[in-house]
């Protein structure tokens, strides 16, 4: 179930990003429906994760607290940037979702420190980050946001966001 949820989240986020480049401008209705789907999938994903974490509580702890503290701070740090465009506020939703994910995941990791050697890996449903030219102010904020959250915590290089190909198969880790 959570594999499906993750896949739908990734799909929805990529659709949200591709909406930006559509002719005619951002569709508020479509963005809203996509965000709601992301949220629904996220809720299911987290529920499934919590259940799995509860099962793993038996494992011996090994990850230090310090490493986990860092992403928490960074996530809390991320301001909700107010953009001049009202409509563009909607795409802040997926970013916020990602931040929440980070928080929730880190929180759950904090609780079950007993987890063995499970590095705080970034959820693999996030779009692959590649360099992208973007003059939009709001997109620059988003860009900056993601770079910060990668700081020292992800096993991936910090890269910029790009449209996520929808036919990419998401493999659960």
């Amino acid at each position: 179930m959570d594999v499906e949820a993750k896949r739908i989240m990734a799909l929805s986020i990529s659709k949200l990003y591709s909406l930006r480049t559509q002719r005619g401008g951002l569709s508020l209705h479509r963005s809203l429906l996509l965000s709601l789907t992301v949220r629904a999938a996220r809720d299911i994903y987290h529920t499934a994760q919590l259940l799995r974490d509860a099962e793993e509580e038996q494992v011996v702890p090994c990850a230090p607290d310090a490493a986990i503290e860092e992403p928490m701070e960074i996530s809390n740090d991320s301001p909700q940037t107010l953009t001049p465009k009202e409509v563009a506020m909607k795409p802040q939703e997926p970013k916020e979702t990602l931040e929440d994910d980070k928080e929730n995941r880190c929180a759950s990791e904090r609780h079950s420190r007993k987890r063995c050697c499970k590095t705080a890996v970034e959820p693999d449903f996030l779009p692959l980050k590649k360099a992208k030219m973007d003059t939009d102010e709001e997109k620059q904020h988003l860009h900056g946001e993601v770079l910060r959250t990668n700081n020292g915590n992800s096993c991936r290089q910090a890269e910029t966001l790009t449209a996520f190909p929808t036919n990419r198969a998401i493999v659960a880790c």
């Binding site: 739908i8 005619g24 508020l28 809203l32 465009k85 939703e93 939009d136």
Partner: protein
């Protein structure tokens, strides 16, 4: 390029035959009959409007009655660029609504995402001839050669149909316009975008009144948008608007200037057993239409059509499954974006039959009295001359009969979103991507 197929007058009643009008080029984005059914307007993605006119009955060729021929074609909207927001504004015509006819000319409202225009379509069959200052070719005459004065005389000429923009209603919508509706007072109309509804006077273009505003103070708290709105057919103070959450609000403009508080709220509680990732999306209402009588409302969401009684807000009067076999395919339909298709629905003239589109160029009709329904297909193969439309069936279970089509064989790129029903006769117009089909019932 247009082809017309003459229907077969010898065919039995209750069957539907085809008149095909093929519009080259663009994807049709709206279809609308005028109030008498004499004219049929289509708008397309390229911003063009094509108006068809029904041929008059003639004694020589009685079977040609009912054919729609092209009457006028004009470019309604052009692509624009909003430099302030760095956004392109599409020229696609979202909706066309006819005004009731008050003189020899015809008037219609057409809208794209941002601007509504009032077009006048008029005929010219006379031309003034005999000017004093210019000759027949239009060249200015040398004043020295003018020795007499004459009065110009109107001479007959070949019929010319011209469309002129009479009003442009712009700069009133931040979001994309999804509906327009002419009021029964014939003085005002409303235009609706995702968050706001504005009321206009047909004569005044530089001012409009906002009557509904559901924009939250903090956009991050946005939970629903307006998807469609329509005025009541007889009560000029009443209108309804539908939301992406599956609810309909009826508002009375006499209650207050800003109709944020509804008079009636129609919503059916969700069936918890049907809950999925996509429940929100499929409950979003894509179209809302008053019945001609004004007593009922019809709404279309992704899988169903519902008829509501204006006097009962708690649940719909009738629910019709359009293509319930898609319920298990929602994930794939989400992937290919089909789940976002905004199907429309229409009433027939007597409010006894409702019609809506589906995929594979299928469209469905539901008879509210007999509770019978039929699935028909709009395709070139089925629309040969004198062709009677054969009912189609989608096979859901394992065993597929010879005539049936299985769910997996459905072509989701062929969708019927826009349909229209003649106001008094059993003539329907069905838009299948860039083709327009006109079908008639054979009641002789």
């Amino acid at each position: 390029m247009f082809t017309r197929i003459i229907r077969d007058p010898a065919s039995p009643t209750e069957e539907v035959s085809a008149l095909l009008c093929s519009v080259a080029a663009d994807i049709i984005s709206t279809v609308e009959f005028n109030s008498t059914g004499e004219l049929l307007a289509t708008g397309d993605k390229g911003g063009r409007v094509v108006v068809f006119q029904r041929e008059q009955e003639s004694k020589n060729q009685p079977h040609r009655r009912g054919e729609y021929n092209v009457y006028s074609t004009f470019q309604s909207h052009e692509p624009e660029f909003d430099y302030l927001k760095s956004l392109e504004i599409e020229e696609k015509i979202n909706k066309i609504r006819w005004l009731p006819q008050q003189n020899a000319a015809y008037f219609l409202l057409s809208t794209n995402d941002k601007t509504v225009k009032l077009w006048k379509i008029s005929e010219r069959d006379k031309r003034p001839e005999g000017y004093n200052l210019k000759d027949e070719d239009g060249r200015i005459r040398d004043p020295a050669t003018i020795t007499t004065l004459r009065v110009p005389v109107l001479q007959p000429m070949d019929l010319m149909v011209e469309a002129t923009p009479r009003r442009v209603f712009s700069n009133a919508h931040t979001y994309h316009i999804n509906s327009i509706s002419v009021n029964s007072d014939y003085e005002t109309f409303m235009s609706t975008d995702d968050l706001r509804i504005n009321l206009w006077n047909l004569e005044i273009t530089n001012r409009s009144f906002n009557i509904v505003d559901i924009k939250p103070a903090n956009m991050e708290e946005l939970t629903e948008v307006i998807t469609a709105a329509e005025f009541h057919p007889h009560q000029c103070n009443t209108f309804v608007y539908s939301s992406s959450k599956g609810s309909i609000r009826l508002c009375d403009m006499r209650a207050s200037a800003l109709c944020d508080n509804h008079s009636k709220f129609f919503e059916e509680p969700e069936d918890p057993s049907n809950r999925s990732f996509f429940s929100e999306i499929i409950s979003s209402i894509s179209d809302v239409k008053f019945s001609h009588s004004g007593r009922y409302l019809m709404t279309r969401d992704y899988l169903t059509v519902k008829v509501w009684d204006l006097n009962m807000e708690s649940k719909p009067l009738e629910t019709y499954q359009v293509h319930d076999y898609l319920r298990s395919k929602l994930c794939s339909l989400y992937e290919n974006d089909c789940i976002f298709d905004k199907f429309e629905c229409v009433w027939n003239g007597s409010d006894s039959v409702i019609m809506t589109g589906s995929y594979n160029n299928f469209f469905r009709m539901f008879d509210r009295n007999t509770k019978r329904d039929v699935t028909l297909e709009a395709s070139r193969e089925n629309s040969k001359p004198r062709a009677i439309l054969k009912p189609r069936k989608v096979c859901v279970g394992g065993k597929r009969r010879k005539d049936e089509i299985s769910v997996d064989s459905l072509d989701f790129s062929k969708k019927i979103i826009h349909t229209a029903w003649h106001p008094s006769e059993n003539i329907i117009a069905v838009a299948a991507t860039n083709n327009l089909y006109i079908f008639q019932d054979k009641v002789n």
